[in-house]
């Protein structure tokens, strides 16, 4: 059913910390691994070892260079993981002609029922974030499921019941939780660090939040403390080096 629920009981989603992410792409690999081997059609690759490889991914890490407006500040490199934001007002759901796309009332996860998907691609057109990719082998739309087959899976040890990307992140840049609960880890992180929406003007009301990079330490002042000690101490070479210097000058 492609009518969006008025509210959802829980709002499960991710907080992604742009300050902490080191751009290692481990979340990309663990996502591809888990989601190829488990729920739904595998994430296929085309020409994987050839000249023009491409494939389906539910999570991709971009890198951006940010040049501050003030001349004195240093440029920053920001690694930027991007996956489905499980929007409250998900435009991908309402455009679906078959009812394959839906948003769950119980936890707000946006899912695709692959056996109903005709692969028209309209949901990917409607998504401003590029979160949906049409699998070229299966002909159906693939997207982040928030690892719905992990988070409720009682066959897994308790610590593994979170999305594969969160579980694997070595930097702790990804956090999973319920945004409907104001005391949850993700709600508190969002409040403390000024968690933001991507493309708020698109009106999608994304559930996932991004924590902006913390302001960089300023370098001026620090260099001055060490500068006297770092000044060259032997401007005029003496001894063997002095002889070598003079001799080389003569040649």
């Amino acid at each position: 059913m492609t009518r969006l629920p008025e509210t959802t009981q829980r709002k499960l989603g991710l907080v992604i910390d742009l300050d902490t992410c080191v751009g290692c792409h481990a979340c990309v690999i663990s996502c591809k691994g888990w989601n190829t081997e488990n729920y739904g059609a595998p994430l296929s690759d085309q020409d994987p070892y050839g000249a023009d490889p491409s494939g389906t991914f539910l999570n991709r890490v971009h890198s951006y260079e940010v040049t501050p407006l003030a001349d004195s500040a240093m440029a920053q490199l920001v690694h930027f993981p991007k996956s489905c934001l499980h929007c409250e007002d998900a435009p991908c759901v309402t455009v679906c002609p078959t009812g394959a796309s839906y948003k769950r009332v119980e936890d707000g996860i946006v899912l695709v029922n692959e056996s109903d998907c005709i692969g028209c691609g309209l949901c990917a057109w409607a998504c401003p974030y590029g979160a949906r990719e049409l699998d070229q082998a299966a002909g159906v739309m693939k997207k982040c499921t928030l690892c719905v087959d992990r988070i409720y899976n009682e066959n897994l040890p308790e610590e593994d019941r979170e999305p594969a990307c969160v579980r694997t992140c070595p930097a702790g840049a990804r956090h999973f939780g319920d945004f409907a609960d104001p005391d949850s880890n993700v709600s508190r992180l969002t409040a403390e660090r000024g968690g933001m929406d991507l493309m708020p003007e698109q009106g999608t009301k994304p559930v996932n939040k991004y924590l902006p990079p913390r302001p960089k330490d300023r370098l001026d002042g620090q260099i001055d403390v060490l500068a006297p000690l770092l000044a060259p101490v032997a401007e005029d070479a003496r001894g063997f080096l002095g002889w070598l210097d003079k001799t080389l000058d003569k040649i």
């Binding site: 492609t2 009518r3 742009l18 990309v28 023009d52 490889p53 491409s54 389906t56 991914f57 991709r60 971009h62 890198s63 951006y64 260079e65 940010v66 040049t67 501050p68 407006l69 440029a75 920053q76 490199l77 920001v78 991007k82 435009p91 455009v95 679906c96 002609p97 078959t98 009812g99 109903d116 998907c117 005709i118 692969g119 028209c120 691609g121 309209l122 990917a124 057109w125 409607a126 998504c127 401003p128 974030y129 590029g130 990719e133 049409l134 299966a138 002909g139 159906v140 739309m141 933001m196 929406d197 991507l198 493309m199 708020p200 003007e201 698109q202 009106g203 991004y210 902006p212 990079p213």
Partner: protein, 290 residues
């Protein structure tokens, strides 16, 4: 956006076919018997041929019937209903004209309304998308409908009305291009809002997620041929509007009429190619390509 041939053939042929069906439904021209058969055969070839072409861009065309279920929210589903209603109503209406020499006006009007409804719902599939600012405008349905009505008039031999309708469609086409060129800028979506990093400074794409291409880049970040856009716009306008208008003003002959129709069809195809090729999807901003 990637200008997929299947979608261009679909919207070009179906638009013209349903435009002709609408005129036939309203009784212009009021034909019966074999003449009516010829008109209806041409209209159905275009409309159904276009619809068949559209199924080629589906990943799983064998499940296409499921697209009838979500008419409450989805314009694509509404399009499926309108197209089916139009084809069935006009088939019954056409059978009356061809085999019984009888015109059932109410059936014709309903069929004509459903035919125009099909063109409208097709255009709303594109116009609803906030992610493509160039399409997200009432001008998109205006363009599709005016072209279908003008092209239908041309096909239906409405030689007195067709030139004016063609000129109106041409004017709307110009407005679409004029507005479209500034649409992405006016939408307020930039790399700064896409990344949320705009408060820190100027954002530049440094490294894409993968060294190779992917579905998103193939489908949404089509930039080939933009440098010829102005020439193609001129070609589209001449073939689609000006040449048919000139041919219509000349004394009527079936040969000139056929040339006018073919020229119009080719012009609409060029215009539709540009409609897709020039459309900028905001996801391209994440790749620094816009």
């Amino acid at each position: 956006m990637h200008p997929a041939p299947s979608v261009i053939i679909f919207s070009t042929c179906s638009g013209l076919g349903f435009g002709l069906l609408a005129w036939l439904g309203f009784g212009f021209p009021a034909v019966t018997g074999w003449v009516a058969f010829t008109f209806f055969a041409i209209a159905y070839l275009l409309a159904v041929g276009g619809l068949m072409a559209s199924t080629f861009h589906l990943g799983r065309p064998e499940r296409a019937l499921k697209a009838f279920t979500q008419w409450q929210t989805s314009w694509l589903s509404r399009e499926a209903w309108c197209a089916m209603a139009a084809l069935i109503l006009m088939a019954v209406y056409g059978a009356g004209l061809v085999f019984l020499d009888t015109r059932w006006p109410l059936l014709g009007w309903l069929g004509a309304a459903a035919s125009l409804g099909t063109v409208f719902t097709t255009s709303m599939i594109y116009a609803q998308l906030k992610t493509v600012p160039r399409w997200h405008s009432p001008l998109t349905p205006a363009l599709f409908l005016s072209l279908a009505i003008a092209g239908g008039a041309l096909m239906a031999g409405q030689t007195s009305l067709a030139p004016w309708l063609l000129l109106l469609a041409g004017a709307i086409q110009l407005a679409v291009w004029l507005r479209g060129d500034g649409a992405l800028g006016a939408s307020g979506t930039t790399m700064a809002t896409a990344t949320g990093l705009g408060d820190i400074g100027t954002v530049r794409a440094f490294e894409p997620p993968h060294t190779g291409t992917n579905y998103l880049l193939r489908e949404f970040v089509f930039v080939i041929g933009r440098k010829h856009a102005t020439k193609l716009r001129a070609i589209a306008l001449i073939l689609m509007i000006l040449l048919p208008v000139v041919l219509l003003l000349a004394p009527f002959s079936h040969l000139l009429a056929a040339v006018a129709v073919l020229s119009h069809l080719a012009g609409v195809a060029v215009s539709r190619w540009l409609f897709f090729a020039e459309a900028e999807h905001v996801v391209g901003l994440y790749y620094g390509k816009r």
